[in-house]
Structure formats: structure tokens, C-alpha cells
Symmetry: C2
């Protein structure tokens, strides 16, 4: 201890001067860390934005690319139509339909179920009709509905069964 | 000056003590600024990742949704085919083709030009044939090519003119 004190006296430093020096150094380091972090943040922000744009472009591009064979086969079907080759035209349309359906299925598209009761979450009732079917059940689909994953992309447009028609004197 | 010195003596402070105090405060502020920035950065990172996932999902969803009417009309065309209504089938296929073409055009799809000379950047030569056309020009398209913006999604598969056939004794 005595030695230390002596040394400090020799170097003409005080504990206060030491602390000052340490704090100044610490401050400088903090400032440069802060500046580096700010620069990193700014760079990250810019990169993230560029990446987002690229991702969206690529997501579209992938589906567009997968649609090219569908477009090709449609054009072949059109040629068959021009030459009045009905069987070829029919086969072509079936092929195109199957391709498009598979492509959309792969993207996660699924038809909305329409067997059973009307469900306002996935169905849109365009009409209610008296029917022998259970009241509130779907009796006709006017336009198919689709969901993509959890989301309903388009509700199914349906006709719903109204109160049962009682063909007078129906025994209970 | 004398007054200042006197005051400092009264408060038993020295210029060094003042600087120490100031540096300590500055240090504390720098540390809390740094911690806040780190937290902001981390939050931004997490949010950007979530947003990217949502963006990709939405980019696919948008195109899938636009394809639903195409699928509807294809199904109507199939029904016409089942009932052997050839005109209706033809009209349906034409409609579907136009719809799909417009949708893809809106996404930025454009056919690769095939008039003129063979261009290895956008064409794929499947065959070279002797021809009266200029050597190296595209004389037949076997499969249409497409570009999306600046990128070639699929090169056009073409037949290229070989050296000119000289029908012996052709005057210069």
C-alpha cells in the first residue's frame, strides 16, 4: 500500500485523476460502440427493405413461372379449337384444368366444404328455399368457395334450406 | 474568476470533481441510450422477420385469388364439353386464355421477341436448318419464351437458319 501511494505520488497522479482517465476512456468506447450500433441498425434497415422487395418479387415469379405450362396447353387447346378437333380441345381443357388445380392446391388452396349446415364463416347465402332438406342446410352451390390455409379467400355462394315443407298430414 | 474559485471552495468541489461528476452522468446516459438502441434493434429485427413472412404469404395469396375466376371459367368450359356444346367450349377456352394472359401480363410477364436474329440471351436453338432466310435468323418457334421484367423466365425454343441454300447458278 505504502509503495502504491508512493508510486502515485511519484507520477503525480491522484485517485481522482485515475478515475477521470478511466471514465474518459469508457466514454469514448461507449460513444464508438453507439456509433457502430447505429450504423449497423441503419444498414440492417436498408438490407431488410431490399430483401423484402426481392422476396415479394420472387414469390410472384415462382407462381408465374409455374403458370407458363398452363398457358402453353391453353394455346394448344385454342389451336385444336381452330381446327375443330373437338376431342383434342376437350382433352386439352381437362389437362389445363388439372394442371391449374394442382398448382393451386400446392399453393395451399382448398375448396370450402358445402356438405351439411350453412356456416356464415365460409358460406354466403344468396337464397333461402323451402325444401325437404333439414332447415339451415346447404342445398345448392352457386359458386364454389375457397380457402387458403386458415383464411377464406372466397366464401361459397349457396342456397339454404328454409323451413321444411310439410306435405299436409305427414304422420309424426 | 476569484469569485468562482471561492464558490468552489465553499462547496468543497474542485474542477476535477466537477468533471468526474459530469463524466459519470454522461456515462450513465450513454449506457441507457445504448441499451435502448439495442432493444429497438432487436424489436426491429423480429418485426422485419414477421413482416417478411406475411409479405411472401400475401404475394402468393394475391395471385391465387386472381386465379379463382380462371378456375371457375375452366370448370364452366368443362361442363360445356360434357354436354358437347362445342361453341360454348371454344368460347370458354378463349375467355380463360384471355384472362390468364391478362393476369400474367399484369404481373409483368412479356413474351420473348422471336423476329430477327437468334439471340442466345433469350433464345435456345434446338435445330439449325438450311434456309433461304438470313443465316442465324430465327425461322420457327417451337415453344414461346417469356421474360418477367428484366429476367428471362424461359428462353424461346427456336429453329435457326443455317447457311443459305444456293439454288445453283443464282446470279449475283
Amino acid at each position: 500500500m505504502t509503495e502504491e501511494l508512493e508510486n502515485q505520488e511519484v507520477e503525480e497522479t491522484s485517485p481522482e485523476a485515475d478515475e477521470l482517465e478511466a471514465l474518459r476512456n469508457e466514454n469514448e468506447e461507449l460513444i464508438s460502440t453507439l456509433q457502430r450500433l447505429q450504423a449497423d441498425f441503419e444498414n440492417y434497415r436498408k438490407r431488410a427493405q431490399r430483401e423484402q422487395e426481392a422476396l415479394v418479387a420472387r414469390a410472384g415469379e415462382r407462381i408465374v413461372k409455374e403458370l407458363l405450362p398452363v398457358l402453353d396447353d391453353l394455346e394448344r387447346a385454342l389451336e385444336a379449337a381452330e381446327h375443330h378437333e373437338e376431342t383434342k380441345l376437350e382433352d386439352g381443357v381437362k389437362l389445363v384444368h388439372r394442371q391449374l388445380e394442382q398448382l393451386l392446391e400446392k399453393e395451399g388452396l382448398a375448396p370450402v366444404e358445402t356438405d351439411g349446415m350453412f356456416d356464415p364463416h365460409v358460406h354466403e347465402a344468396l337464397l333461402t328455399q323451402p325444401s325437404q332438406a333439414e332447415e339451415g342446410s346447404v342445398i345448392e352451390v352457386l359458386q364454389k368457395g375457397y380457402r387458403l390455409g386458415d383464411r377464406v379467400l372466397r366464401p361459397a355462394r349457396v342456397v339454404v334450406a328454409g323451413p321444411k315443407e310439410e306435405p299436409g298430414g305427414d304422420p309424426l
